[in-house]
C-alpha cells in the first residue's frame, strides 16, 4: 500500500496491473508511442455484412481472455451490450473484459454472465446494480473507473487494448460508413465510438438501419471498419435521449443556480470569446439560463459550448450566442437533430474533448464549467462515484477532465441531501481533486478555493454570500449533525483512475 498525495491508500497492484499513485493533476508525462494495430488490406468492394451479431463475433475472431468495447451513446436505451454478451456466452467464450465508454443501469442484465465467468472485469466506469453488488462483495469482478478523457487516453496509449469494438451504428451502409444522426436509434454525436474506431484491433459496425451506400455524412469511415452486422433493434429510442433536460423549479436549486451565475459573472469571462460547459441536471440548466440572459444583455458572442450537448445549448448556438458547439454526446432529441444539420454543431472525439495526453484537449480552452457533486469536502475534493452507503454507483464522466481544463470550475451542490451534509471533512471517494475545483456553490453560500484569490475578492465586492469552506461545513453540520462514518473492509474492489492514469482513490468493499 502507498499513500497518494491526496491521502488515500493505494495498493501496488490491482487485477494484475501495477498502479501509479496519484500525485498532482499536471506533472505525469507519458513516455511511449501511441498504440498500434495491425494494418489491414481489404480488396473486395462488396459488402462487409456478415449477418447477425453471432456471425460478427465469430468473424471478429473474439477469443477467451480478450477485451471488447461498445459506446454508451444509447445510454439506458442500449440493447447492444446485453445482446452481445448473451451471444458471446452462447458461443462458449469466457473471461472477457469490457472496456465500453460507460456501463449503464440497463446493463444489470450482465450480472448472471459475470457470475458464470463470461465477463471477468470492467476497464471502465459502471453505473448501477453491477457496481453496487461489487461494492457489497456480492460480485467478484474488478472495475477500473475512468473519466471520459482517461478512457480515451487508455485506448490511445494502448494501456487498454480493445480486441474488438462493437459499435452501434444508427445510420450505416454495407461498406461500414456510419453516423449517429439519423434512424430509429439516432443518438447524435458518436464522440466515444470515434476513439474505438481508430484504436480497437477489430471494428464491427452494428446497425438496425442499413442504408444504401454511401451513408453520409460520414462520421466513422469505411476505412476503419472490418465488418458490418445487422440487429433488429439497437435500442429503445425513448431511453436513448431520456435525460431530464428541464430547468429545476426547486427553490433551493434555483438559489444555487443564481449564486453560480453570480460566480460566472464575477469571473469576468462573460465577454466575446466566452466558452462554457454545463451538464443536464436541472440546476445546471438553470445556470445556463442565467448565462444566456447575461450574454444577451451584454451582447456577447461566445466562442464555444462544450460537452454533452442539450437543446439549451442548441438554442444558444442558433441565437448566435456561440460560434460553435463541440459535442461529444447529445443529451436530447433537439441536440440530435441539430448535429445532423448544423455545421457549427461539431462532433468531436472523446480524445479531442478531454484526453490529457495529446497536444491540447478542448476542455483546456474552457472558461467556465458547471459540475455536479455527490459530496464535497473542505479541501474542495469532489465525489461523484459513491453514494451515501459507500457503494460505487456512478461513473466519473467528464468531471475531472473539465475541472482540470477549465479556468474556473464551479461545483453546484445542495448543502443537504436527505439528512446528510454535502460539505464534509473528507469525501468518501475522491473523483476530482480539490486543486482543480475553483468554487463550490451551495444554497447556503459560495466557497472559493484559495487558488482563486482575485475571484474571491471580486465576489465579496459584489456582495455575494462568500464563506470559508469550513464555515460552510459548520453551518451545514449545525443542521444535520455529523454522520457516522461508513465502515469498509480492506479489500479493494474497484479503482478510481485519474485522467492521466494514476490512481486517485480506490473503492473498498463495504462492511455488511
Amino acid at each position: 500500500m502507498v499513500r497518494n498525495s491526496v491521502g488515500r491508500l493505494i495498493p501496488e497492484t490491482f487485477a494484475g496491473k501495477k498502479l501509479i499513485p496519484y500525485s498532482d493533476p499536471w506533472s505525469l508525462q507519458p513516455h511511449a508511442e501511441r498504440s498500434t494495430r495491425a494494418i489491414r488490406r481489404i480488396t473486395h468492394n462488396g459488402s462487409k455484412l456478415v449477418g447477425g451479431l453471432r456471425d460478427a463475433i465469430i468473424a471478429s475472431g473474439l477469443k477467451d481472455g480478450m477485451t471488447i468495447s461498445t459506446h454508451h451513446s444509447l445510454r439506458n436505451g442500449d440493447y447492444l451490450l446485453n445482446e452481445l454478451v448473451k451471444e458471446i456466452d452462447a458461443l462458449g467464450i469466457r473471461d472477457i473484459k469490457i472496456a465500453s465508454s460507460s456501463v449503464h443501469i440497463v446493463h444489470a442484465e450482465l450480472i448472471p454472465y459475470i457470475r458464470k465467468g463470461t465477463i471477468t472485469g470492467f476497464e471502465c466506469g459502471v453505473n448501477g446494480l453491477i457496481a453496487e453488488q461489487v461494492s457489497k462483495g456480492e460480485l467478484d469482478c474488478p472495475i477500473i473507473v475512468r473519466s471520459h478523457g482517461g478512457r480515451a487516453r487508455s485506448l490511445i496509449t494502448g494501456e487498454v487494448p480493445v480486441d474488438v469494438a462493437f459499435l452501434a451504428a444508427p445510420y450505416c451502409d454495407e461498406y461500414g460508413n456510419f453516423n449517429g444522426f439519423y434512424g430509429p436509434s439516432a443518438c447524435g454525436s458518436l464522440g466515444y465510438a470515434l476513439v474505438d474506431a481508430q484504436h480497437a484491433h477489430k471494428v464491427v459496425a452494428v446497425t438496425d438501419n442499413l442504408v444504401p451506400f454511401p451513408a453520409v455524412p460520414v462520421g466513422i469511415p469505411q476505412s476503419v471498419v472490418d465488418f458490418v452486422c445487422q440487429v433488429p433493434r439497437l435500442g429503445d429510442p425513448k431511453k436513448i435521449v431520456s435525460s431530464t433536460t428541464k430547468i429545476t423549479t426547486d427553490p433551493i436549486g434555483l438559489q444555487i443556480a443564481k449564486y453560480a451565475a453570480m460566480v460566472i459573472e464575477a469571473t469576468g469571462y462573460v465577454k466575446d470569446g466566452f466558452s462554457f460547459q454545463t451538464g443536464t441536471g436541472g440546476i445546471s440548466l438553470a445556470v445556463a439560463e442565467h448565462v444566456r440572459n447575461m450574454m444577451r444583455r451584454d451582447k456577447v458572442k461566445g466562442s464555444f459550448g462544450l460537452g454533452g450537448i442539450t437543446g439549451y445549448f442548441v438554442d444558444m448556438l442558433e441565437e448566435g450566442l456561440f460560434e460553435a458547439l463541440f459535442d461529444v454526446q447529445c443529451f436530447d432529441l433537439k441536440a440530435v437533430q441539430s448535429i445532423g444539420r448544423n455545421q457549427k454543431h461539431v462532433e468531436i472525439t472523446a480524445g479531442t474533448y478531454a484526453n490529457p495526453f495529446n497536444c491540447g484537449a478542448t476542455v483546456n480552452r474552457l472558461d467556465c464549467v458547471i459540475l455536479s457533486a455527490t459530496e464535497t469536502d473542505v479541501n474542495f475534493n469532489v465525489n461523484v462515484n459513491t453514494e451515501s452507503m459507500g457503494y460505487l454507483l456512478h461513473n466519473t464522466g467528464g468531471h475531472c477532465d473539465a475541472a482540470a481544463g477549465a479556468k474556473v470550475s464551479i461545483v453546484v451542490c445542495p448543502s443537504i441531501r436527505g439528512r446528510l451534509p454535502m460539505v464534509r471533512d473528507e469525501v468518501t471517494t475522491i473523483s476530482t481533486p480539490g486543486e482543480t475545483v475553483g468554487v463550490i456553490v451551495t444554497e447556503r453560500g459560495i466557497a472559493v478555493n484559495d487558488n482563486l484569490p482575485d475571484l474571491k475578492a471580486e465576489l465579496i465586492k459584489r456582495g455575494a454570500p462568500v464563506k470559508d469552506i469550513r464555515q460552510l461545513r459548520d453551518e451545514i453540520q449545525a443542521v444535520t449533525g455529523v454522520p457516522k462514518p461508513i465502515e469498509f473492509e480492506d479489500k479493494v474492489v474497484a479503482l478510481i483512475e485519474y485522467r492521466d492514469g494514476s490512481i486517485i482513490d480506490v473503492i473498498r468493499q463495504v462492511k455488511p
Binding site: T249, P251, I252, L254, Q255, K258, I416, E443, R444
Partner: protein, 306 residues
C-alpha cells in the same frame, strides 16, 4: 415618519414541513410567515406547533422578520399556538380573520400578558392582521387603529373572494374596492399595506403585472407562497435609478431653498414643495434599504428647522 422597515416580500412557510422550515434562513425575503393555520391539516395542528417552536428555538442568527400565522382566535387552537410559539420570540403574529378592531384588541391584550410573563417590553410582539372578509374590509380603517402593535394591514384576496362568492382573476378587477379600503385604512393609520399572495407560481409575468399594479396603488409589500416569487417582487419594489437620482436632486434643491429662506423652489421647471420632498425622502429611504444610496433622510431635511 412611518418606520421604513422593508416588508416587500412576506413568504408563507407551512409549519408542518421540516424540510421547508430548515430553509427559512436561506431565502432573501424580508419576512416569513410560518403558517399554523390553513397550510396545516387538522390532524397535524399539535405537531406543527411543536415543530415551529423547536425550529425557532434553534434559529439563532435571525436574518429576517419572523411572523407566525396562528389559527383564528375563534378556534380551539389559537391559545395553544400562542402559548407554544411566543416563548421562542417571533417578531409578531399574523392574525387571520381580523374582521373587527375587537379581535385585534383581544390579541393585543393576550400578547401583553405573555410579554409580562416572558419579561419582554410591552409592545414587543407586533401584529399583522389579515383583512380577508367583506366585514374585515368594511372595518379596515378602524382595525388599522386598534393597536399600536400593528405594523400594517394585510389583504387576503383568496378568503375575501370566497366570502364574496366570486372568483379571483389574474387581472384582479374584482379586488379593486377592497384593496383601496385596506390601503386607505392603513395609510390613515400610518402603517404599511401588504397585498395578498399570487397563487400561480408558474406565471411570473402575471405576478409581475399584479405587483406593479399594487405598488402603484400604494401597497409596500406582498405575500408569497413560493420563494421563486421573491426576485420579481423585489425587482418591482426596487426604486429605479432615475427615481433615486431625481430624489437626491429634490433634497438638494429644497436645502438650497431653505438657505434662501423659502419652502418652495423650482427644479427643472417643476415646483418642489413639501409633498414632493416627502415622496423623495421615501424613495431615498427605500433606496438605502436596497443598498443603492447611503444618505440618511431625517425630519429636518423634510420639514426644515423652526
Amino acid at each position: 415618519m412611518a418606520d421604513y422597515k422593508l416588508r416587500r416580500s412576506l413568504l408563507y412557510v407551512p409549519g408542518n414541513m421540516p424540510s421547508m422550515l430548515q430553509n427559512i434562513p436561506l431565502f432573501q425575503c424580508d419576512a416569513v410567515q410560518i403558517d399554523l393555520e390553513d397550510a396545516v391539516p387538522l390532524s397535524e395542528k399539535d405537531a406543527a406547533r411543536i415543530l415551529v417552536r423547536r425550529f425557532l428555538d434553534n434559529y439563532k442568527n435571525r436574518n429576517k422578520e419572523i411572523l407566525v400565522r396562528i389559527n383564528g382566535l375563534d378556534t380551539k387552537w389559537a391559545l395553544d399556538d400562542l402559548k407554544t410559539v411566543l416563548p421562542a420570540i417571533p417578531d409578531g403574529i399574523r392574525l387571520p380573520k381580523a374582521d373587527s378592531p375587537e379581535i385585534v384588541e383581544h390579541l393585543d391584550t393576550m400578547l401583553t400578558e405573555y410579554e409580562e410573563e416572558l419579561g419582554l417590553q410591552v409592545g414587543f410582539f407586533k401584529i399583522l392582521p389579515s383583512i380577508e372578509t367583506a366585514e374585515g374590509v368594511l372595518n379596515a380603517p378602524k382595525t388599522a387603529k386598534a393597536s399600536t402593535r400593528l405594523i400594517g394591514l394585510a389583504f387576503g384576496a383568496e378568503d375575501y373572494t370566497a366570502t364574496m362568492e366570486i372568483n379571483r382573476t389574474k387581472t384582479g378587477e374584482e379586488l379593486f374596492n377592497a384593496r383601496m379600503n385596506v390601503l386607505w385604512g392603513a395609510k390613515a393609520a400610518g402603517i404599511q399595506a401588504i397585498d395578498s399572495i399570487f397563487a400561480d407560481v408558474n406565471d411570473m409575468e402575471s405576478l409581475r403585472k399584479e405587483t406593479e399594479l399594487i405598488k402603484k396603488l400604494g401597497f409596500t409589500g406582498k405575500c408569497m407562497i413560493n420563494p421563486r416569487q421573491i426576485d420579481i417582487i423585489h425587482d418591482v419594489f426596487a426604486p429605479k435609478q432615475e427615481e433615486v437620482d431625481y430624489a437626491l436632486e429634490v433634497i438638494e434643491a429644497i436645502k438650497r431653498a431653505r438657505e434662501m429662506g423659502t419652502g418652495v423652489i423650482s427644479l427643472k421647471g417643476k415646483m418642489i414643495d413639501r409633498p414632493v420632498v416627502v415622496r423623495a425622502a421615501r424613495v431615498l429611504n427605500t433606496a438605502r434599504a436596497h443598498g443603492m444610496v447611503d444618505v440618511v433622510i431625517n425630519e429636518e431635511d423634510i420639514n426644515g428647522t423652526e
